[in-house]
Amino acid sequence: MAESVAAKGLTVVEGVTCPFCGVTCDDLEVHVVDGKIKEVKNACVLGKDTFLHHLEGWATPRIRGKPATVDECIDAAAEILAKAKYPLIYGLDSTELNAQRKAIELADLIGANIDHTSSVCHAPSLQAVQTVGISSCTVGEVKNRADLIIFWGCNPAEAHPRHPSRYSVTAKGLFTPKGKKDRMVINVDVRPTPTTRMADAFIQIKPNSDYEVFSALRAMLKGHELDQAEVGGVAIDEWKTLLDKMKSSKFGILYWGMGLTMSRGKYLNIVALLTLTQELNRFTKFLAAPMRGHGNVVGMAQVLTWQTGYPFAVNMSRGYPRFNPGEYSVADLLAHGEVDAALIIAGDAIGNFPAKMAEHLMSIPMIAVDPKESETTKVATVVIPTAQAGIAAGGMAYRMDHIPLVMKKVVDSPYPSDHEVLERIFAKVSAMKNGGNGAPASAGRVRG
């Protein structure tokens, strides 16, 4: 850990990994004076905010709205989970690997459903990859080689502010020494966004027409002549030009976001996109990658996959992992009113869910484990504050392109880390289950 102690109790911590978005910058310089963060260098506005406001809006430990000690809250949480018949564990994007591991272990113990924010974000992308695969790369390949970058249905200027300068648009790499001058940037979206300003060309597409457009591009790539004059509200000739640019690039990459995952067609939009980019490899080096985002969401998908085989929407209620988006995904579990208790960790469920889901969540015993007050903590049965991962607690996190990095602890917190809280809840639930009525349920060996 690179640290230097200067005068007046100032500590400068270098090489700090930002926990906020999927760009996962690891070059932040954090200045700490008397245990408080005073300055952050190299961060974008989102990262700066995260660090500079780390002392604001802290959650307080409470049970049913009344102040309690962290120990009492952990006891109450364990009781709720040990009694639950069909619990949900959710959130887990804004925390680190060991906390995520413990949450999965807890799900295994109590036969819970475990899901995380991918489910309401890039799950369609994950499903598309499961369907056709993907031709992709890490961001350094883009920095070093890409001469064509397409941002389709995503807005990095606002959601991933340093992506363009660190990895894509202006980044200077081995074969792109002139940065932006060595590249062409194209933006495709349903309306202009701040990202449009950094593009050399903008194509405005009709909402919900991406699947048709990708299909048309695929057809043209295979040499078919199309009868239509336009697709997605854009003239065929304009699509032909785009296709030519893609074919004649040396190394092209298409980045996509919620514009495709959350519009009509959902995962099928991405299946079409991914197939197109795979097929472009007959002509040139062409890749695609999702703009993954919130915090360490990729990390949760990684560890859930290696421990259970599946990247999201996992159910453990039969004693082994099962995967079924639409049945075990958080939106469906809550919309169908199926779960009878919930543990929400490091993620604001209520603040992000549709009303019907939020209603059900508020009608069942709900535990919120979070460093900050949120819509979720306001209505939770039990609130357990924790040290914020990446700031007051260290651990491993993943970048949007699946590269692992380490988050540092730069300040102390009076509260335990997410990992510690989950460990303690786990220990209590385990004791309750073992000391309870008979041996824990053992489903035996099952072969499908």
């Binding site: 499961q130 790369c137 490899n281 421990q307 990095l405």
Partner: protein, 546 residues
């Protein structure tokens, strides 16, 4: 720790110490094999049972960013096998790409106690270490991919061999890896342009170095650092008809130096094209028989579903086009790449049947069992859970003959397999699954039952159906503790991560930090792995006598 145990009355197969079935007592204390126990010892009655060292898998893909991408991308495969939780046992899934806990239990259930994760991009080694921590019981190590590393290519281009050596030492030291892995050297860098290499003297774009130069340089570095294992090579032209010529040329290039040829079956093909696809196993085996510098693991094909996972990006692109299956590709900055394609080996497919025969031909034609090791290149040739089936094929020529009748008939007419009568003995099986891999890896405490060895021991029933025998150990011990008894895992403690400590050959130059940050997209200081992140570990110093 400190438990004392005696295994009494078993028929011991410890070929490294010349013991081939003698009834012998094995004494264990403090996790090691000892001459005699100082404290009162629990006794395991192994009468009528076979005692071997725990299995050592020299080449498997069980935990890495690439393997995890394969897992995530194959939910349909996981439905074939599910493993329910039990007290002390975590749940899991998976047939060709099992989840991590299941992987550790499944290997243990076969009596394997050490496994080597064969392909890891440097920037993803941190991920590998974490995944390995979630694979219970077995000891493990990882090889680091270097054959397409742009720093190495850069230094080679400038003729700076000492820099290559310092860089390799720095990689091993920073990342806590076990050895040097090469996959399609030069070819994976070419894949970043959508191309491959066709011969050992093709020049890689921009860096202008050839596969031959990469091979020789890394071989020299490996030996000059005194690493316990030789370079571990997935040769150029994997999977392609007539690649046996490249295989022979590759081995000839490194004549006189130790070399481990990975999954040799995939590199022993003849024929001008797919129509003319044929076996060149006899030619390849003949070379190996005549040249003691080469060890190999076979990469035996098992009929049924597989998942091909490899750093050989261009080959996987070809397989995607051939098979029309889904295709995952990830090019990794500066270092390498990975390609994943699900694949099914069919008995009635001419090519698949010949591939299956080639693996067996190689096993049966290579005479020295100390230089040929059992693998399926899991999960590329098939899942590791089928090792017992392969053992039966090697030990039982009638079983082999029955199998030959089931597969495509050209195996009978077009390969030498029908004429190969050899049956592996139990001692030879102990060599190809334990003693040989441990020796090739330079793991002095594994693969044998002499005093000082780690007490990793498997006790098998004597069953003339060798598949049943090797599928159902009676006991497995790990570090002197019983971890499996009567088919059930009774102790799921974490094993050790093994890594080498290279000798001190000097630091990287001062300009390296800036170069690193120019090429990569992470901070130089964030690259090395903190040893504290590997709680259970064993350092193997390089340069130690073998």
């Amino acid at each position: 720790m400190g438990r004392s145990l005696k295994i009494v009355g078993g028929e011991v197969y410890d070929p490294a110490n010349g013991i081939n079935g003698a009834v012998k007592e094995i004494c264990i204390e403090d996790g090691k094999i000892v001459d005699s126990c100082k404290s009162p010892a629990e006794v395991i009655d192994a009468t009528n049972l076979v005692v071997m060292p725990g299995g050592v898998d020299i080449h498997t893909h069980i935990g890495s960013s690439a393997v995890n991408a394969a897992r995530g991308f194959r939910p349909e495969d996981h439905r074939h096998a599910v493993f329910a939780k039990k007290p002390g046992i975590r749940s899991g899934v998976g047939f060709t790409v099992p989840s991590t806990f299941a992987t550790g239990y499944l290997y243990t259930k076969m009596g394997y106690t050490t496994v080597m994760e064969a392909a890891n991009a440097p920037i993803g080694v941190r991920h590998t270490h974490e995944e390995l921590l979630d694979i219970p019981i077995v000891d493990k190590g990882l090889y680091i991919l270097m054959g397409n590393n742009e720093f190495i290519l850069k230094y080679l281009k400038a003729g700076e061999m000492e820099k290559v050596k310092r860089y390799v030492a720095w990689l091993l030291r920073s990342l806590k890896g076990y050895g040097i892995k090469l996959v399609n050297p030069g070819g994976v860098e070419q894949w970043k342009y959508g191309k491959d290499v066709e011969g050992l003297d093709d020049k890689v774009y921009y860096f202008d170095v050839t596969p031959r130069q990469i091979l020789k340089a890394l071989s020299w570095v490996n030996e000059s650092l005194g690493l316990p294992h030789s370079i571990h090579l997935h040769a150029n032209r994997l999977g392609i008809p007539n690649n046996y010529l490249t295989t022979l040329e590759t081995m000839q290039t490194l004549e006189g130096s130790r070399l481990h040829m990975a999954h040799l079956q995939f590199h022993s093909y003849g024929g001008e094209n797919w129509g003319g696809f044929c076996s060149k196993a006899p030619e390849v085996a003949e070379y190996i028989n005549a040249h003691p510098h080469v060890t190999t693991d076979i990469g035996q094909v098992v009929f049924g579903d597989a998942t091909t996972v490899t750093a050989d990006g261009p080959w996987q692109y070809r397989l995607y086009k051939l098979s029309k299956n889904k295709w995952y590709n990830a090019d990794i900055e500066v270092e390498t790449g990975c390609g994943i394609v699900p694949y099914t080996y069919r008995e009635k497919s001419y090519v698949n049947a010949i591939q299956w025969a080639i693996g067996l031909e190689l096993f049966l034609l290579i005479r020295d069992p100390w230089r040929v090791f059992l693998s399926t290149d899991h999960p590329n040739g098939g899942p590791f859970i089928f090792y017992p089936w392969i053992i039966k094929l090697l030990m039982d020529k009638e079983f082999r003959a029955e199998m030959m009748k089931r597969v495509h008939k050209r195996v009978l007419s077009d390969t030498s397999l029908p004429n190969l009568d050899r049956e592996y003995t139990l001692s030879e099986i102990a060599i190809i699954t334990r003693a040989g891999p441990a020796r090739a890896l330079g793991l002095k405490h594994k693969g044998h039952l002499g005093v000082g060895a780690d007490a990793d021991i498997t006790i098998y029933p004597k069953d003339s159906d060798r598949e049943q025998m090797f599928e159902h150990p009676a006991y497995v011990l790990k570090d002197g503790e019983i971890v499996l008894r009567e088919g059930e895992i009774v102790d799921s403690r974490l094993g050790k991560t093994l890594f080498v400590v290279p000798p001190d050959v000097g630091e990287m130059d001062p300009e390296f930090k800036a170069e690193f940050e120019n090429f990569y997209t992470i901070e130089y200081e964030n690259f090395p792995i903190d040893i504290q992140d590997i709680p259970n570990r064993e350092a193997i110093p390089a340069g130690a006598t073998r």
